[in-house]
């Protein structure tokens, strides 16, 4: 690195030309390529849990979160939801303590216009909630609200709300979450209910991540403007 070098004019002109031309060709070639957004149909089936574990070389937490970023690259509206749910399941199994797959299922993939897809995402949240209720209840609380206000399916919303009350056992689960059945049954609009849930999450200290808080605030603003339109 510190060895002496001959002056620049020791390099023949044709070599400078070749270097410049190669660099220009490289830049022109890359400028022509446009990074295409991944198409929904291109979402491949998820790898098996063992394969993903092997590929992670022991860094399961990082691999799980990077897999979620990969999934985020696909347009939610046109995804094959059976395949998506399989992906979310594998990622959650890779790091069962991560809330990212449940957050994405409840807050992104369940909030699509197609009720069948929304239900598929909500059922995933419900299924996975049953495996670890004390940790995963915030996602199901949101799922209950979506079932009531978006799907207009009161029995489904009550099933989710009742599950939170029945299966959570830790004293850290706030009272409002255990009493979700009440405000599912109450004649409360979606915005007020969402404010209670997000406000409650902030107060309980469960919502500390800045990206998560910013995302939820943006969702609240969107909800507010939609309802006021």
């Amino acid at each position: 690195m510190t060895g002496e070098q001959r002056p620049l004019d020791a390099v023949p002109a044709w070599l400078w030309t070749l270097l410049g031309a190669a660099l220009a060709a490289q830049i022109a070639w890359q400028a022509e390529r446009h990074a295409a957004a991944p198409r929904a149909a291109a979402l491949p089936p998820p790898p098996s849990l063992q394969a993903l574990r092997l590929a992670s070389f022991g860094e399961r937490e990082a691999t799980a979160r990077l897999s979620m970023l990969y999934l985020q690259g696909f347009e939610a509206q046109e995804l094959d939801y059976a395949r998506l749910v399989d992906w979310l399941g594998v990622v959650l199994e890779l790091d069962p303590r991560s809330m990212y797959p449940l957050f994405a299922a409840a807050r992104v993939y369940a909030e699509v216009a197609d009720p069948a897809r929304s239900r598929a995402a909500l059922e995933f949240v419900y299924r996975e909630f049953l495996r670890d209720p004390n940790r995963r209840w915030p996602a199901l609380a949101h799922a209950a609200l979506l079932a009531k206000h978006r799907l207009k399916d009161l029995p489904l919303a009550l099933r989710y709300a009742a599950a939170i009350d029945r299966y959570t056992t830790e004293p850290g689960v706030p009272l409002w979450a255990r009493q979700m059945q009440i405000f599912v049954l109450e004649d409360m609009n979606e915005l007020d209910a969402a404010r209670i849930v997000i406000g409650g999450l902030l107060q309980s200290g469960r919502l500390t991540d800045p990206a998560e808080a910013a995302f939820l605030k943006q969702r609240l603003d969107e909800l507010e403007s939609r309802l006021h339109r």
Partner: protein, 252 residues
């Protein structure tokens, strides 16, 4: 008094070879990548930062230590410096262990430097556990790289052997899980599974060490950390003993 001189020479060579700059570049790359990824994350952005930085910095620390050890020893062998040193009235274990101590010191310094930025995204106790574990892991890698560099005496085979051993050890738990997952195991499958279990017996449990989950979900209990570090220390001892045996037999 010879060992401290050897340690000093190793540290001096690393400094002049640009190791601090490479470490700084790795730190910058990890910070930039984690910062970028956390911007696109919808949730758990701090956890994502911690996990990605930890994974990348761990890989960088291991690669830098292995490359430094192998290139240093290969250069010493190639320019006959090792032969000249062996002519000195010093016991051979002093030569070997002095060098190993120097490389271990480099690895530990890298572990401390790489742990510091993690304090931004993880609790201090968890970072301390990760740092101690990474320091021990780099000592193990230094011992492996020293063994292969002395034995194989060529840069590429020695780096390939060190990398192969490291990656195999990191993925052995996953390989065992796959091997044990057959519904109806055949004779060939049982044989393969037993062969894998046998290989696992002579590999370190790297999947249990320097875990990102400590940074994300809290520092490990003292017993778990102690077991992980103990396993690393034991394997580093095994590699050192193997290296000493080989070095004693080496013709001057």
């Amino acid at each position: 008094m010879a060992a401290p001189i050897l340690i000093r020479l190793i540290v001096l060579e690393a400094r002049r070879g640009g190791l601090p700059w490479l470490a700084a570049a790795a730190l910058l790359a990890a910070l930039a990548l984690a910062g970028f990824l956390s911007e696109v994350a919808l949730a758990e952005s701090r956890m994502l930062q911690a996990a990605v930085m930890a994974a990348l910095l761990r890989a960088c620390a291991v690669f830098l230590v292995a490359a430094q050890v192998v290139s240093s020893i290969a250069r010493e062998i190639a320019d006959k410096g090792l032969e000249a040193m062996l002519a000195l009235p010093l016991p051979r274990p002093t030569h070997y262990l002095g060098r190993l101590a120097g490389f271990a010191l480099l690895g530990s310094a890298l572990a401390v430097a790489f742990a510091l930025p993690l304090l931004l995204v993880a609790p201090p106790a968890a970072v301390a556990a990760w740092c101690v574990s990474l320091a021990c892991e780099t000592v193990l890698v230094a011992a492996a790289a020293l063994f292969f560099a002395m034995t194989l005496a060529q840069v590429v085979p020695a780096i390939a052997a060190t990398g192969g051993l490291y990656l195999l050890a990191r993925s052995m738990a996953g390989i065992q899980a796959i091997a044990g997952g057959a519904v109806e195991p055949s004779f060939a499958h049982t044989l393969a599974r037993q062969a894998i279990d046998l290989i696992a017996l002579v590999l370190p449990r790297l999947d249990a060490a320097t875990r990102s989950e400590w940074l994300l979900y809290g520092a490990p209990p003292a017993g778990e950390l102690g077991a992980a570090i103990g396993a690393l220390a034991l394997y580093a001892l095994l590699l050192t003993a193997a290296g000493l045996v080989d070095f004693q037999r080496r013709a001057a």
